[in-house]
């Protein structure tokens, strides 16, 4: 029992809200749901879409094909008709002449008289989306009552009138579809009344950070990281945290370092362009051994590029950002549960090792929404590392040895306000008290001190995680968000008679060489999936673990992999007896494109 629904409309028409309401109906029925929004970097005009994938079995990823398309304007009919699955349904506004675009013969055309239904239900014209929402739910065979609950929760704060109007509009669409739209073969029904949460990657990171005791979040708005600051601002007083929007990302990172120096767990968040402005201050955190956490939600680059789309091209940027050489931790969660877990762990890494920690997401995971259980808080520990308290009196005119040399490279840090802990934190090279020094022996000793942290840190860095059967003909290898389509492709491969498993990296740096080598030694054919054009993980693992992969499957057109694509490409390789070129570059140009010009319009 699985279904994929896509809603399409022009930007500004409310597709995101409509889509989220639809997805919540299924989540509340105990089903597994993934929602994937696509939108251009324009507020009005341009094309928005929102795909909701529903299943009673685990589901992780958006799909290449949709079973139902709800087209709220002409472009949506045009853009999505070819990505409809066989026997799929197109629900469209009756003012659109869908037939003139010659959809495939197997597609069911469901013409929705929106205006008429709105008039009949007494709802206003701005409720057109809600009528379509009701119709989509009816076509999917799902009962109406959950939608009523969702709309009530969504609009209660706008008053009972708005609630009633919305429900009436939804019911009109629902009833019309039930009575008139026949022949669609698939359906979904509620599985249980077990409540799940429906959460996006950025929200999950936010919650993990708040759970970790993050008391200060500071950022400059940048897509696709802005929902971090939106979510945290919306809840700042409930969470008891302070959220600050600064004049730019330079300020944001400097604030984050300052707050951590003062003893408060603080985080900043941004995308690649903003991160570029943050790197100098991140280096200051490293030199001054001040903890700091940054969530980097990447999008295609370089330059402004495609701001609202996705790419995994900032692994190397995260790793090498800032001048000089220093250690850092890079964590790339693969799903919302990992977003929560790695976020709270990030603060422990930052505090214990007094260094920058980067949580590396991308637009796909950051802004897509997933059903899951309430997060597992049982494992959460707050580890602040070496904090200096109750210190002995300092000799006159001397300072506390904040940077005392130690075997593990970590020295105790007092927070300002602590008597007898006075010292200078500095971005200059410095002696044990923080006094700047250009003495060669001091320089070498302090570089060695900071680098020595790797030994204890490495003990906390697990290797990649294997999903699926222990042994398989093909092992898919990926990192971060691409775990999601990767996992969903395993079953598709098995349907094609290919046994496959998935090796996923979420601890990106430092690289646990032994664990990586051990994991890969058990693999037969390996196919690396990366949402970039240069296979950055392959390079990193070659450098640190001297391992390589049989094939690199690369996609870098602004979209994540879809499970069908992975399965098709791997099946093609298997059919050729795995005798093929190492690099396979794919895109979505053959089945879906969002440009009216391509259609001669």
């Amino acid at each position: 029992m699985a279904l994929s629904i896509k809603i399409g409309a022009q930007a500004g028409a409310g597709v995101m809200v409509t889509g989220r309401s639809l997805a919540k109906c299924f989540t509340r029925g105990g089903l597994n749901v993934v929602a994937y929004p696509e939108y251009p970097s324009i507020i009005r005009g341009g094309h928005n879409s929102y795909q909701v994938v529903i299943s009673d079995k685990p589901v992780h990823s958006p799909t290449m094909h949709s079973d139902i398309v709800v087209a709220l304007n002409q472009d949506a009919v045009l853009f999505h008709k070819d990505s409809l699955s066989k026997g799929g349904a197109m629900v469209y506004d009756s003012r659109i002449d869908a037939a003139k675009f010659k959809p495939r013969k197997d597609i069911l055309l469901f013409r929705l008289p929106t205006e008429e239904l709105l008039a009949k239900s007494g709802a206003g014209a701005r409720m057109a989306n809600t009528v379509a929402l009701g119709a989509a739910l009816a076509v999917s065979g799902y009962p109406f009552d959950q939608l009523e609950n969702v709309l009530r929760d969504e609009f209660t704060r706008k008053g009972e009138g708005v609630v009633r109007e919305n429900i009436a509009a939804a019911k009109a669409g629902y009833d019309h579809a039930k009575a008139n739209f026949k022949g669609f073969a698939k359906s979904v029904e509620p599985a249980s009344d077990k409540r799940k949460i429906f959460v996006e990657g950025n929200e999950a990171v936010s919650l993990g950070a708040v759970k970790a005791g993050m008391k200060f979040y500071v950022a400059y708005p940048m897509t696709p990281a802005s929902t971090l600051i939106h979510y945290l601002c919306e809840n700042d007083r409930d969470f008891g945290i302070v959220v600050k929007q600064t004049e730019d990302e330079i300020a944001a990172m400097n604030y984050a370092v300052g707050a951590n120096f003062a003893g408060v767990r603080a985080m900043t968040g941004t995308s690649g362009g903003g991160f570029a402005l943050m790197v100098e201050a991140m280096g200051m955190a490293a030199e001054s051994e001040t903890p700091v956490v940054v969530t980097l939600v990447s999008r295609p680059g370089p330059g402004t590029c495609m701001p609202t789309w996705t790419e995994q091209a900032e692994l190397r940027f995260a790793l090498h950002a800032a001048q000089g050489e220093f250690l850092r931790v890079i964590l790339a969660p693969g799903d919302v549960d990992e977003c929560f877990e790695l976020a709270w762990r990030a603060f422990n890494f930052a505090d214990k090792y007094q260094m920058p920690v980067i949580i590396l997401l991308d637009k796909f995971l950051g802004e897509s929404i997933f059903s899951t259980e309430r997060f597992d808080e049982s494992k959460v520990r707050i580890e602040r590392g070496k904090i200096a308290k109750g210190l002995p009196e300092l000799a006159p005119n001397t300072r506390f040895k904040r940077y005392a040399l130690s075997a593990d490279g970590v020295s105790a840090r007092p927070f300002p306000g602590e008597p007898n802990g006075m010292h200078v934190a500095t971005s200059y090279e410095h002696d044990e008290t923080g006094y700047s020094s250009e003495d060669f022996s001091v320089r070498k000793a302090h570089v060695d001190k900071r680098m020595a942290k790797i030994d204890t840190l490495m003990k906390e860095i697990p290797g990649p995680k294997l999903y699926g059967p222990k042994t398989a003909d093909v092992t898919l290898v990926c990192w971060g968000s691409q775990k999601l389509p990767g996992l969903d492709s395993l079953e598709l491969l098995s349907e094609k008679g290919i046994t496959a498993n998935l090796l996923h990296f979420s601890y990106m740096f430092p690289v646990n060489t032994k664990e990586v080598q051990k994991a890969l030694s058990k693999c037969k054919k390996t196919v690396l999936l990366e949402n970039n054009s240069t296979a950055q993980l392959a390079g990193l693992l070659k450098e640190y673990a001297d391992v390589s992969f049989d094939f690199h499957l690369l996609k870098y057109d602004g979209r994540p992999f879809f499970p069908e694509q992975i399965a098709d490409e791997v099946a093609r390789l298997a059919a050729k007896g795995f005798k093929a070129k190492k690099e396979i570059r794919i895109g979505d140009e053959d089945y879906e494109y969002y440009s009216p010009q391509r259609y001669g319009l």
């Binding site: 949460i197 200060f216 302070v242 004049e247 300020a251 300052g258 003062a262 300002p416 006075m422 200078v424």
Partner: protein, 289 residues
């Protein structure tokens, strides 16, 4: 509470003999001592440049940050722990050049902290280039034909930009400067103290003698710092008189709620003292279901 002596450190001050920073440091130590502030509850955040060394020569807490970034670092320290006395310092290149965006925006926010700018109209540590406050015609390594850009006016910018305490001191008059700094620290809100601090090595134009002939005290001229229009007039007097008359003292002061006061999250308990051992996030799930 600390004496001027206790506020110092063993390390030798490494500024040029006669540098205005030496007098500025003396005035700052005097102010901290007079106010009876605890060294462990005082944080001095500096940028990079000759002025940046100030944090090294004090036995308080210090953070020598990056070029131009003392204000954002200091802002966050204040937000994290409102019990601390936070003083940010930087040079004219640091604060009015590379870090000017922070200066412009911090004034709108009115955090309760003090910003002391070591203003010597030249870049010292990088061996003598024109700074944003360099006067027209001044010849430096980067302006061999003379500066053609009009100088940045920090005082008028601050009065116009929302600063609630705007003062200018002169390193040649330590007692006067000390009082301005004390006023800035005790002022509730963002306080700017721009300090003429002659660079004896790279600025051949704005020397002690040059200032001595031109500066006069606003306090002696019957200026009312609550009068914003009069303050603006005084802020523009130096350029209007072709630098024949250069006022120093308190230009402007107003009372306005601080940014911190608008945050119920930190009322009565600074962030740093809030318990994080078991944060409750259960209220968040309701909106997500």
């Amino acid at each position: 509470m600390a004496t001027v002596e206790e506020l110092g450190v063993k390390q030798k001050v490494q500024w040029c003999p006669g540098c205005g920073n030496i007098s500025l440091l003396a005035a700052l130590k005097g102010a901290l001592s007079d106010l009876g502030l605890n060294r462990h509850e005082t944080v001095v955040v500096t940028g990079i440049g000759c002025s940046g060394k100030t944090s090294h020569y004090l036995s308080t807490y210090g953070f020598e940050s990056l070029h131009g970034r003392s204000l954002p670092v200091a802002s966050a320290i204040k937000l994290a722990n409102t019990d601390l006395t936070v003083i940010a310092e930087g040079g004219d290149g640091d604060g009015y050049g590379i870090g000017v965006q922070h200066f412009v925006h911090i004034m709108r926010r009115n955090y309760d902290l003090t910003y002391i700018v070591h203003d010597n109209q030249v870049y010292g540590l990088t061996t003598g280039q024109a700074s944003p406050t360099a006067l027209l015609g001044m010849k430096t390594k980067t302006t061999p034909w003379g500066v053609v850009e009009v100088p940045f006016n920090p005082i008028s910018t601050a009065i116009n930009g929302g600063a609630t305490y705007v003062a200018r001191g002169y390193a040649g008059d330590i007692p006067h400067l000390k009082e301005l700094i004390k006023g800035a620290i005790t002022h509730k809100g963002f306080a700017l103290v721009d300090v003429f601090q002659p660079c004896v090595t790279f600025n051949y134009l704005n020397t002690y003698q040059w200032f001595q002939e031109r500066v006069y005290k606003l306090e002696a001229a019957n200026h009312d710092p609550k009068d914003k229009a009069a303050a603006m007039e005084k802020a523009l007097e130096d350029s209007k008189t072709d630098y024949k008359k250069v006022p120093i003292g308190l230009f402007y002061k107003e009372e306005r709620p601080t940014y911190e006061e608008t945050l119920p999250q930190i009322k009565g308990k600074p962030l740093v003292r809030q318990d994080i051992s078991n944060v409750d996030i259960s209220m968040a799930y309701k909106d997500l279901e």
